[in-house]
């Protein structure tokens, strides 16, 4: 794990509690990500991973606890260009066609805000599209893309702002192998360039070598915070879930095998 170059962590969540509907979804989550770290957030479906990530960026109100980004309390945080967010992919696209470039360009708004984009902004958008290997399709409609390609568009959109921290919710879910490789190499480049990453994963898979630390959630509580669980890489693959004999006795794995 690289030594943090500044004292304050990039993401610091303390004792976070949150309810959705009437249901407690986070029940006191501590989550810290230091500069240059790549942290995986693991856990079964419904364990609260998306909720945790969405409360880090202020999209789910906490009922208790605190969140700081770059040492600033979330409420006062304004430098959104430093944060690149990749939401859990939904099938719902906008009701009007949009090209890859148009969608990726909207990621640059955290820098341009209400002013017109300049040459540097356009170049950053082109670079982001290039990074995910979609330059030749930049003028195609996002509605005509496969799941994996769509995911790459969402990552390019986050990268367009040239953020310091990437927060990604299940970037590998439903992604074909070719796209998985492109995503992994994109991420590798970002990490090599000093980016900080928090990513929600269902399984470590192809990204395992990049991960510095893993946090495992279960029912809204942190079950594990430390080196990525070894066995997970091989056994949490789809198809292995239901045949694993030790699942019940090993909490860390159990959390992943749903």
């Amino acid at each position: 794990m690289p030594e943090p170059s500044t004292p304050e962590p990039v993401i610091s969540m303390r004792g976070a509690t949150a309810t959705l509907g009437a249901r407690p979804v986070l029940r006191g989550v501590d989550l810290t990500v230091h500069r240059g770290e790549v942290v995986a957030l693991l856990g079964a479906n419904g364990s609260g991973k998306s909720t945790a990530v969405r409360s880090v960026i202020g999209q789910v109100p906490l009922t208790g606890g605190t969140v700081e980004l770059f040492g600033t309390p979330l409420r006062r945080f304004r430098h959104w260009a430093r944060v690149g967010y990749v939401p859990q992919r939904t099938t719902a696209a906008g009701g009007v066609p949009a090209t890859i470039r148009e969608v990726v360009a909207s990621g640059r708004l955290s820098r341009t805000k209400l002013r017109l984009p300049g040459r540097a902004d356009r170049a950053a958008v082109d670079r982001a599209i290039e990074l995910v290997g979609l330059s030749d399709r930049a003028k195609d409609s996002v509605n005509a893309l496969s799941g994996g390609q769509h995911q790459r568009v969402l990552i390019a959109r986050a990268l367009a702002a040239e953020p310091e921290v990437l927060i990604m919710d299940e970037p590998m879910a439903g992604v074909d192998l070719a796209s998985q490789e492109i995503l992994a190499s994109t991420l590798r480049e970002q990490v090599a360039g000093g980016a900080t990453v928090l990513l929600v994963l269902h399984e470590l898979g192809a990204l395992e070598p990049l991960i510095d630390r893993a946090i495992v959630l279960r029912d809204g509580c942190v079950m594990h915070d430390g080196p990525p669980p070894e066995a997970v890489g091989q056994h949490a693959l789809p198809g292995h879930d239901h045949v694993h004999p030790h699942a019940a006795s090993e909490p860390v794995r159990t959390g992943l095998l749903t």
């Binding site: 959104w80 939401p87 906008g94 009007v96 090209t99 909207s106 409609s141 005509a144 893309l145 994996g148």
Partner: protein, 298 residues
């Protein structure tokens, strides 16, 4: 030839028609993108109360309708924020209350008559006054300024609201601006197409344009072109045939939609074939046996 340009009322009606043709699809595209295609219809209902107030207080109904429609759109936006569960019921109250209130007020006023009511509900050419034209010009300028000047921001907010919030954009203010702009557009369009058909002109040209376009930009431009073409054609037809302009315009827009949809199918097929000729053919090195992901597209 061009005899329809001679009467002053037709000059005013045509000017109003062009402005409607531009503004209605220009704001409508964001409503369609947010899947709120019927919002314009709701605002149209609410604006009716404004028209009624205008008659009752003997002021210009366009300005009164603008005021009430803007207030109604703000309330609709607030309901969207806070009233998750009972939201649709609250909206229904607002829409039908607005419509009923308008009909009632017009009947109470001295100047209002059923003929007046009909002209506001379905549009009318001969009733566009000098004063209306001024109001429509000012309001249309506002709509164009917002929908073109803030297109990047409004696109982002309408495409993915949560992501837009994480870019730090003032999402609530922008949503409110869309609602208010839609309300203003309703009153711009009210004179020519009428309050009951306003929403069609916000939605149908956009739906028609997106049949053959791949980008937001092209959809926007094409929708405005279609909108302007059908409002002009409808206005002229209405002059010669003595049919209501609103209905004519909307039917023409739907015809445009049908024609473009019919054109789109062979177009999409040809595109798929052009792309497929390289990507589809099997080569020995291809490791995966499943089809290329591009083919799954709808």
């Amino acid at each position: 030839m061009l005899e329809f340009l001679n009467p002053p009322f037709m000059q005013r009606a045509l000017l109003a028609a062009v402005l409607v043709g531009i503004t209605a699809p220009a704001i409508g595209i964001y409503l369609v993108q947010r899947r709120q295609a019927l919002m314009g219809d709701g605002i149209g209902h609410v604006a009716m109360t404004g028209v009624g107030l205008g008659f009752l207080l003997s002021t210009n109904p366009v300005w009164m309708a603008t005021l009430v429609a803007v207030a109604g759109s703000v309330v609709m936006e607030l309901i969207r924020w806070y009233g998750r569960t009972r939201g649709d019921i609250a909206l229904a109250m607002l829409f039908y209350g607005g419509m009923a209130g308008g009909v009632m007020l017009i009947n109470l006023s001295d100047t209002g008559s059923n003929a007046n009511l009909t002209s506001f509900l379905f549009g009318s050419l001969s009733t566009v006054s000098e004063e209306d034209v001024t109001a429509i010009l000012v309001l249309a300028a506002f709509v164009v300024l917002v929908t073109v000047g803030l297109r990047r921001q409004l696109f982002a907010v309408s495409q993915d609201e949560e992501f837009a919030r994480v870019t730090g954009l003032p999402v609530r203010a922008l949503n409110l601006l869309v609602a208010v702009t839609a309300a203003v557009t309703v009153t711009v369009a009210m004179r020519v197409v009428g309050l009951l058909l306003v929403s069609a002109l916000m939605v149908v040209p956009v739906a028609a344009a997106q049949q053959i376009s791949k980008s937001f930009k092209v959809t926007f431009v094409l929708a405005v072109v279609i909108g302007t073409a059908v409002t002009l054609a409808g206005t002229v037809t209405s002059y010669y045939q003595d049919v209501p302009p609103g209905a004519t315009i909307v039917l023409l827009a739907i015809a445009a939609f049908i024609v473009l949809t019919a054109l789109a199918t062979p177009l999409a097929r040809r595109r798929a074939r052009d792309r497929g000729s390289e990507a589809d053919r099997c080569t020995l090195e291809v490791p995966a046996a499943r089809p290329a992901p591009d083919d799954v597209s709808v």
